[in-house]
Symmetry: D3
Subunit: 284 residues, 6 copies
């Protein structure tokens, strides 16, 4: 069960110079794939479906709840940036700066929400909950979260650079700091769970069932010897998981050419697909 604080914000959200074009960009942090709706629901669904050690469920619940408050902050920031946005054509017609503003803002902020945030990204695409990665495997989930926080922090950093509004810079620096912590937090959990021993995920599958040779070889797929072979930490030496030795080889097909045969006469195909008709037979 959840509680609120009467709308009190986790951190300061001030806007000195409302900017509807920046409001559009901020939407990415709400409804983008790196945004706060995603991490909020992701940590929640991971928690609600967690089986095994209870502490990870609890930790996810803590941070999922924090993220709900980040959506609240950003939705407030969008609404404040939309104050006074241009809504009327006639005034804009001959003013290139106002015209550029009208063109650069998300027009739905004016015509669909009376100047408020939407659960969409910076292009106006609604958030799709398929991005809530909750696999049921605690190590995989920790990595999914590190990844979400990494791209989330990248986004906040770019938004920080994009604005010269003091209040917005302050709010974004807070979100950047939280993303710093959350990256560390989920990496620390991954480490606690075993670090490199977590891999290959899932680690409860009997690796002796993996066909020998395929599981620690970096295959290259260059068309022939004219293509250079990139080497790196992945090419040789002990594998990251410590369970094999890296090697590098050129991939060759061993599976042959599949033959699906002719089509069933029950399927809605052309006559020639079911069995050669005479007319076609001559041509093919």
């Amino acid at each position: 069960m959840f509680y609120h604080d009467g709308g009190k914000l986790q951190y300061h959200v001030k806007v000195d110079k409302p900017n509807p074009v920046f409001a559009k960009a901020l939407q990415q942090a709400i409804g983008g794939i790196q945004g706060e709706i995603r991490v909020c629901l992701q940590y929640m669904f991971q928690a609600w479906g967690a089986r095994g050690p209870k502490k990870y469920r609890d930790m996810l619940l803590e941070t999922g709840t924090e993220e709900m408050g980040h959506i609240e902050m950003l939705a407030t920031a969008v609404a404040l940036n939309l104050e006074g946005a241009p809504l009327e054509q006639e005034k804009a017609a001959n003013d290139p700066i106002m015209l550029a503003t009208m063109g650069g803002m998300n027009v739905q902020h004016a015509i669909s929400t009376c100047m408020a945030a939407m659960p969409v990204d910076a292009s106006g695409v609604p958030f799709n909950c398929s991005h809530v990665y909750a696999s049921g495997n605690v190590a995989a989930d920790m990595l999914a979260n590190v990844m979400a926080e990494s791209t989330g922090r990248m986004l906040a950093v770019q938004l920080y650079k994009m604005t010269d509004d003091k209040g917005m810079k302050d709010m974004l620096s807070f979100l950047i700091a939280r993303d710093t912590m959350h990256q560390n937090q989920f990496l620390a959990a991954w480490e606690e769970l075993g670090g490199s021993d977590n891999h290959p995920i899932p680690n409860n599958f009997d690796q002796s069932l993996e066909p020998g040779g395929y599981n620690y070889t970096f295959y290259t797929t260059g068309k022939d010897d004219s293509v250079p072979q990139p080497t790196g930490r992945w090419s040789s030496g002990t594998s990251f998981d410590g369970k094999g030795e890296f090697k590098q080889e050129k991939m060759v097909p061993v599976g042959g050419i599949p033959d699906l045969g002719m089509a069933s006469p029950k399927a809605a195909v052309q006559k020639g697909q079911e069995g050669m008709i005479d007319k076609l037979k001559d041509k093919i």
Copy 2:
């Protein structure tokens, strides 16, 4: 530029007992969020947008090309599992096993594709390219790839357990092995790029701009002291990135209650929202 091998498969794809219900499940490995279309396009877009050290671009291109061949294998497997699937109602009407098969298969395999694979997941939802995570940050991309390969391997493992078809088990064991390698490969790259030094991603932002205290504190959001505080590796000690000390605190709001004020009379709101009308004023 790319080349093919006349349809030769990377690895064996045999189906001993076609099973249209298993064909539906296999679709997840083609068009699911953990599937092969996703990783193929993800590594390709990461490569095509890569700036900086060329070796990561090259490595991504190798594996992205390999993954295209995995889609090919799985599409072949789906088509082979659909051989002889029940298409006609009358025969199924009184046979519960055939009826269950018709109910359990993806009916679009019968009515939309003449018994072939589609770029959809196991529920029939088409793959949506928003799942192609390509951030432009090489470390973030490596983690996104580890995550994709982790859930991809989980999926292949579950499909392996779900079937008793010898050919399908063989094919899936190959895919599991490749996922083992790819997890190791991207983790090795992450390590080579700096490991914990990669964090916080992006590591080219000046951390002194992060407000002090917020960036290495695990905040708990329990409603009051009745809620236990989960502790772990993330609660104390040096942070994973080595740039701070973890601590744990209860979060309190510092941002106050936002006030968006009354609505603009230019917006399509109710009269009471623009400024209290008398009738409403008495009630509120």
Copy 3:
């Protein structure tokens, strides 16, 4: 800012006989268009964007927070219904009831989430946040909420009838009761805001700008007199909003046939679309 209660559930969630087919149906109450993610985010976004009387913002925040707890309950119910679900083909092959169960469950519960809930509907389609209706007009929002709670209660009622599990019936009766209250709550708010005086929404547009005759006439569009004209409360008498008199008429077009003319030669059209070419001119 938000808080949690250590995972304590608002109401009892017990499952006596786990049923993976019912778990699939329950998903509609989580990620369906009538589901709890929708109402949770809808009330939150309405609150965060609310301008005008503060009490509606506050009320929305109360109930939005409650709904987050309903997602939690339902996600728990799904996970509990998946206990012991069949994952292995060989056992099912000859048992029609187990086969029907495998066919009728959402296979992603087995292969994608390790037996946990997803933010998807009963067909496996992920929730899309375009269904978060938050218009910025307080009266329109109240109606959107009544509508959401009406279809939400319909859904809970059908799920109640579909199961014979005592624990599930208990949980669903709680959710039905809450939907009863929420319908009443948003209708009461609509009434307090003015009831019929709220209409036409938005009520801050000068109705004298509406062309006379069109705004209180029920137009019929039957092809000719052979089609009967349905009459009802909407056909005559004072309009619901008290601002006009209903009447009923047959609609006739007054706008003429539009002529878009020939295509611009700058557009990628056929030659004949830009201006008749001779060859075409003869035929048309």
Copy 4:
């Protein structure tokens, strides 16, 4: 079965000064969630699935057919607004007004449709038919329609304010007037069906099965006594549906903490999730 009128428009559609930026905004009225495709298909699907009194089916068919003509009008308006839109870069390069126009228009109007309307919203997101709300419950459907017409009228009002084109203002005033009628029409139908007696929807479920106390109580979810309790018409007095007495209480969890236990060894989890492994046991 349906008929057309040779393309004659229901009402005048004239454009004095073509404006491709306005064409983009108009798209919201075609393919937005408040747009005409939605209401057209919504009333049609409600009619086609209607069971019970035939008059509501008939009434829905009348208005659904009218709405098809509104899509036609708006598609025409978009095409006319695109006449002469800038397609060529070189001319725009140094003219900020033309550049702003190119930036502010939907570029797909230029590159995908040869200057014609699309079934997308103002952000270019295609209409998704999940927004066709047709529940099978006649009262719920009437409310869904009032809601659609309310946000539809809000949209038309904002578009009216956004343009200074005389022809467009005329067309939009017609659409506003029709939305006035349609709000009244569906509210009148709701009233005729019983008004407050319609609730709680569905009204054919035995309310004695609802657990006492939960169905007419407004629960607040503030974290503690520091959060003020909003009161209103929903807090006390007879409920809107006349079937209970409103009261207000602070919500407390009664469901306890759920325990999903350890994961099945059949699932693709980590070893520690199946049963504590020694290494992990020490740490957790």
Copy 5:
């Protein structure tokens, strides 16, 4: 403007033995990518955006209006097939045929629509209007329509084979016949517009701007000489459009390897991407 016929159906829609599993399959013909919503809206949007000879606009309007009536027929067929569908778990529990039926039907027909059709496909995925292909080029549109009618007829044929219900077979034979006509109709229009002279579409672009050699050569992309070269009508002889000579060659890259260089320090990348840092330099 449009009209209806009081709900009279274009053709007979009778269901002798309601079958909810068939209702699910029929949904593909309503909301699938080959379905009737698609063709209805496609022909309408093509008509409304048509520039050039008016007869094609008129013809499209005729058939678009006919298709609206086909949605009506199919929605009726779905509703009739859902009569008496099993809604209650307890009855199904021990009856494998009823259980298979519950598993095989679209459960949303029971829990979301009170036994009526939805604008979704056979997997329950809502129709997405991006499939409304309306390019503004009359020849391209004719081909898009032939394609839609071809897959539409394939679908109707498979549904015809899938059912043994006499009424459904009759209805489907009508739809098959109409698809026969519509394929012929749009091909006849394509022929009238010029047939092979329509190509390459658009035919108003100056082909002398196409780099020589690339526009009539079938390039093969086999990895080397081990891959056979498929030949056909496209390999030699006069091209279909009569404007070139087909030839066949092996494709070779002429564009070189692109170099995006190092990343901008303004972007949220890793330090090594902006310019080699010492630590990284040693390893790469």
Copy 6:
């Protein structure tokens, strides 16, 4: 199995004057419905599911592989056009040209990808794989491909006109040339397969089962005699497929008005829908 060429591009990709607004438009050629991801995956899935004559499978594989290289070229072009794009607000504030550029570019290129391409269209909508048309019928697939190449060439032509960058014009002229070939190639295959004899697709259904009269008649749906009847090649003469005679008639409904009856009391409807209740009976 597939191979790459170390990133060598099929054709030259040079950008003389980077232009982020053009980068946004170019995205349509990557992730639009007419774009290269679509054709690449479409030809691949058609090939992988092809049954019948092997040469069509082989031919599709050749061109599908070529198209993967086109995505690569366009992704490179987008990245190059983004070089030096404005990322910082303060510099833009007073410069209308820079402001228009910021408004007109896809802001996600700056905040989500560090200046690289995404698999989205020009509006920022991610590519959805439902547009991969692969029906299993070889003739239907050839037409789907002609259609894709036609709209693809239209798009490339408009992009060509939109830019004055010499390098971009060169690249686009190559893509236009390839689309010329591909239109010809798939039309040649359609011709080889039988041309008009392919129709009606599928041509393996017994046409004697089509109800007489409906399959070669162009039905008009004008409301009455006041609507002119468009005539054309489709109105009279031998049908395109040579299997019938075209005629033209006015459509009349023969199916009667469907009656779905009262609703089941098991469904979540209103009381009046199950059987008239007294109160309602008086009004209706």
